[in-house]
């Protein structure tokens, strides 16, 4: 079934079929085979690569050899005239997706210290040569976002690697004695005799934490390479996974006072922005209306002599709209601004196509407007945008940090009537937290966390507690149930050895980066939504020098009392409008469940996927419970819908839709005229 997609934009109102959306970016694929199936190798790698054609309009190529095939689709950002991939040197062949921002410095270092000569001006060649000079230690030298497949032609082994925070994706499938690698899961849909199927236990883990832990995914036999690691594959040898980076590894020191902290922080952030503006194509920024993206946009203006483009989402539903704050910044900087207004219909009409790109269930519709926004960015001729992701994790911006601080303070005097009053300062954007008549109920809720907030889950205790009721929604045949001890054991297995030396808030930061940031915000909401339309997102707050430096700053520089991201406001209060600096933290959100109801009924598309027939057909969920959920809101949409109902509805609907795409993969074709590379290396 193909659904029509309507996109509401200020200047165009067009209808596209799901197969005709023009979508572009950079992707990689690989097949490591033990069966030397040369006959089908070329077809298989080309088919895998074709599913990534939306990730690169500027060219594609393949590399073939006895043991391995590599594929690549390219979006040209640096060295537009060369740098085609896959690229081969005397020693290696590489297929690489990403940017190494310090590639110029690395190049200079290799030229001057090691006598290396370069044939192109591309960053890809710098990556290749870095491995020749430094081996896997090259990864520690990279400042950037990347996923790569590096074939050692001499030793006949494959090294795969991913950046420190998982900005760029890389998935691995083990199937019929071969290994398959790809930027996106849909590449595996082309593999003969393979169909993606949910691992329902992992799906529940994903529901609990908004990500599966470590290297598992929601699909059977499919792994994700963990951020900050590399893995080596060699025929007839066991696979070896090694970690080249872990959060908090630097064990640095905090500046003693806030003035010193501000000085160091601003220098690092400024340099991070400067590096991320390196591009042979124009760079824009996203402006959400919050302080993070406002600062990134301000710093961009300091390094950009010309007027540049800024992009924002606004909402027809004013409960979600932040355009007042966006305009404050636009007026301050006089940027060339573009706004995309999104309404319920746009969310509903585009959700299925967006899920094709998410590839996994989501919990809120917030990624959807970003999917549409990247289409606008692409239409405006911009291939790269800087955004503010990462700031909430590294600067204690989430309310989960405040919750933990409150619980720690309250638990010292659990009978205090004064201490729990701080609850009123949590979640300022949620009505029921602000209502003094409801305070007693919220206090009752938080009392339950006083005894175990300090376990290994830290701030995730509350998220997990809220989400565990999803177990009831699954098909009873799966016997899904929540086991806290088992979850804690899983979490313990990913904790570094110095975890227990950290403060409670540092521990929470680590877990937020490992779960929400890496597996959801950078993945479904970040990479997938921008790459769907050929836009590369860059994240200055995720420069590892900055992350590591800030990790060891005193907690009070980041959360001062209940003032979140304290150092950010302190550092930039002169440059950013007061209305933005002083506004209470408000997460970026979009209308969720309400987008899928029209005149008291589910929309056609949502009705199809949430119908008892379709629920039974896919077999993941309990059809009686899902019908009850739908009926709850078909009876009446209340003025306020709770987090849990919004989350569960979106999760179930997106699960169903993601499953639809595994059963109905698109038929993609590469444009042969854009083929830049075919290397046959059978020596």
């Amino acid at each position: 079934m193909v659904f029509g997609i309507k996109i509401k934009m200020p200047w165009v109102n067009a209808v596209f079929s799901s197969n005709s959306l023009r979508i572009i970016m950079c992707g990689i694929a690989g097949i490591l085979q033990t069966n030397h199936d040369q006959d089908n190798q070329r077809n298989n790698i080309t088919n895998m690569t074709s599913t990534l054609s939306h990730r690169g309009p500027d060219g594609w190529g393949i590399y073939l050899s006895r043991h391995i095939a590599l594929g690549h689709t390219r979006l040209s950002i640096i060295d537009l005239n060369s740098g085609d991939q896959p690229m081969m040197s005397d020693r290696y062949a590489i297929s690489y997706n990403g940017e190494i921002y310090n590639y110029r410095e690395l190049r200079l270092e290799m030229e001057s210290r090691h006598g290396i000569r370069f044939k192109t001006t591309s960053d890809t060649e710098v990556v290749l040569k870095s491995f020749e000079v430094y081996g896997p230690d090259a990864l520690k030298k990279f400042n950037g976002q990347f996923a790569l497949l590096l074939w050692d032609r001499k030793e006949k082994r494959l090294l795969i690697a991913r950046d420190r925070y998982g900005i760029r994706p890389l998935y691995i499938l083990s199937h019929q004695n071969n290994y398959y690698f790809a930027s996106e899961l849909k590449a595996f849909d082309t593999i003969p005799d393979f169909q993606r199927k949910y691992n329902v236990n992992n799906l529940f883990d994903h529901a609990l934490l908004w990500n599966t832990l470590d290297n598992s995914t929601v699909y059977r036999n499919v792994r994700s390479l963990p951020a900050g690691t590399f893995e080596i594959y060699q025929i007839d040898h066991p696979t070896r996974l090694s970690r080249y980076y872990e959060i908090g590894e630097s064990e640095g020191n905090s500046p003693p006072d806030i003035e010193g902290a501000v000085e160091k922080f601003t220098a690092l952030l400024d340099d991070s922005v400067k590096l991320r503006l390196r591009s042979d194509v124009p760079v824009g920024t996203y402006l959400s209306g919050g302080i993070d993206s406002s600062i990134i946009t301000y710093l961009t203006s300091q390094h950009n002599k010309e007027k540049f483009k800024t992009f924002s989402v606004s909402f027809a539903d004013k409960n979600f709209d932040e355009s007042f704050f966006q305009k404050e910044m636009v007026t301050r900087l006089n940027s060339n601004h573009f706004d995309l207004e999104v309404d319920y219909k746009a969310i509903n009409d585009n959700f299925l196509e967006a899920i094709y790109h998410f590839e996994r269930p989501v919990f809120r519709t917030a990624p959807l407007p970003l999917f549409l926004l990247s289409q606008m960015v692409e239409a405006e001729g911009i291939k790269v945008v800087l955004t503010g992701e990462g700031a909430d994790e590294i600067l204690f911006g989430y309310d989960s940090f405040k919750e933990l601080k409150l619980l720690e303070f309250w638990s010292r005097q659990p009978d205090s009537t004064l201490r729990p009053q701080l609850i009123k300062r949590l979640y300022p954007h949620l009505q029921h937290y602000k209502d003094p008549k409801r305070f007693g109920l919220i206090k009752m809720y938080y009392e339950g966390f006083l005894s175990d907030y300090g376990n290994e889950l830290t701030g995730l205790n509350i998220r997990v507690h809220n989400n565990k009721s999803l177990a009831n929604y699954f098909n009873k045949d799966f016997h899904i149930s929540f086991n806290k001890e088992k979850l804690i054991e899983k979490v313990k297995s990913i904790l570094p050895s110095n975890f227990h030396n950290w403060t409670l808030l540092q521990k929470n930061q680590f877990l937020e980066i490992k779960t929400l940031l890496s597996g959801y915000l950078l993945s479904s909401q970040g990479d997938r939504m921008s790459m769907a339309h050929g836009v590369e997102g860059r994240y200055p707050f995720l420069d590892h020098r900055l992350v590591e430096s800030l990790f060891y700053y005193q907690d009070k520089f980041k959360l001062n009392g209940f003032k979140q991201k304290y150092i950010l406001g302190k550092a930039y209060k002169a440059e950013i409008p007061d209305s933005i600096v002083n506004r209470p933290k408000r997460p970026y959100m979009a209308p969720d469940l309400i987008s899928f109801f029209s005149h008291g009924k589910l929309t056609e598309q949502a009705s199809y996927f949430m119908s008892p027939e379709k629920i039974k057909d896919y077999g993941i969920f309990d059809s009686k419970i899902i019908s009850r959920l739908v009926n709850k809101f078909e009876r009446k949409i209340p003025d306020e819908i709770g987090y849990r109902d919004n989350m569960i509805f979106t999760f179930v609907l997106s699960c169903q839709m993601a499953n639809y795409w595994t059963r109905n993969p698109k038929n993609n074709r590469l444009n042969n005229k854009l083929k830049t590379t075919e290397i046959a290396d059978f020596n």
Binding site: H432, P436, K437, R438, F439, G440, L441, I442, K443, M444, Y445, Y446, E447, G448, H465, N466, K468, S469, N472, Y473, F482, I625, R628, L629, N631, K632, E640, G642, Y643, R644, I648
Partner: protein, 82 residues
């Protein structure tokens, strides 16, 4: 009377929070069991006020009154008896 209150309450809980009646332990905390979150408490309190014509003041918002189905039923009975 208590039985009628309990039945109405259980009907509300099953249709609002996607649990089956047999899954609800009448004496265990629905908060701790994860059946309801903070917003769920608001939904229950609003239902109780509307359905049983009682007023729930802040001093009454304690686990002794809301900690389980049994406690809620007892609380409503006491309030209605006033």
């Amino acid at each position: 009377m208590a039985e009628e209150i309990q039945n109405k309450l259980l009907d509300f809980i099953t249709r609002s929070f996607m649990v089956e009646k047999e899954e609800i332990d009448l004496d265990k905390s629905m908060i701790d069991e994860g059946i309801i979150d903070s917003f769920g408490l608001i939904e229950i309190a609003t239902f109780l006020e509307d359905e049983f014509q009682i007023k729930i003041t802040e001093d009454k918002m304690i686990r002794a009154n809301f900690g389980s189905v049994t406690k809620i039923v007892n609380f409503i009975e006491r309030e209605q008896g006033k």
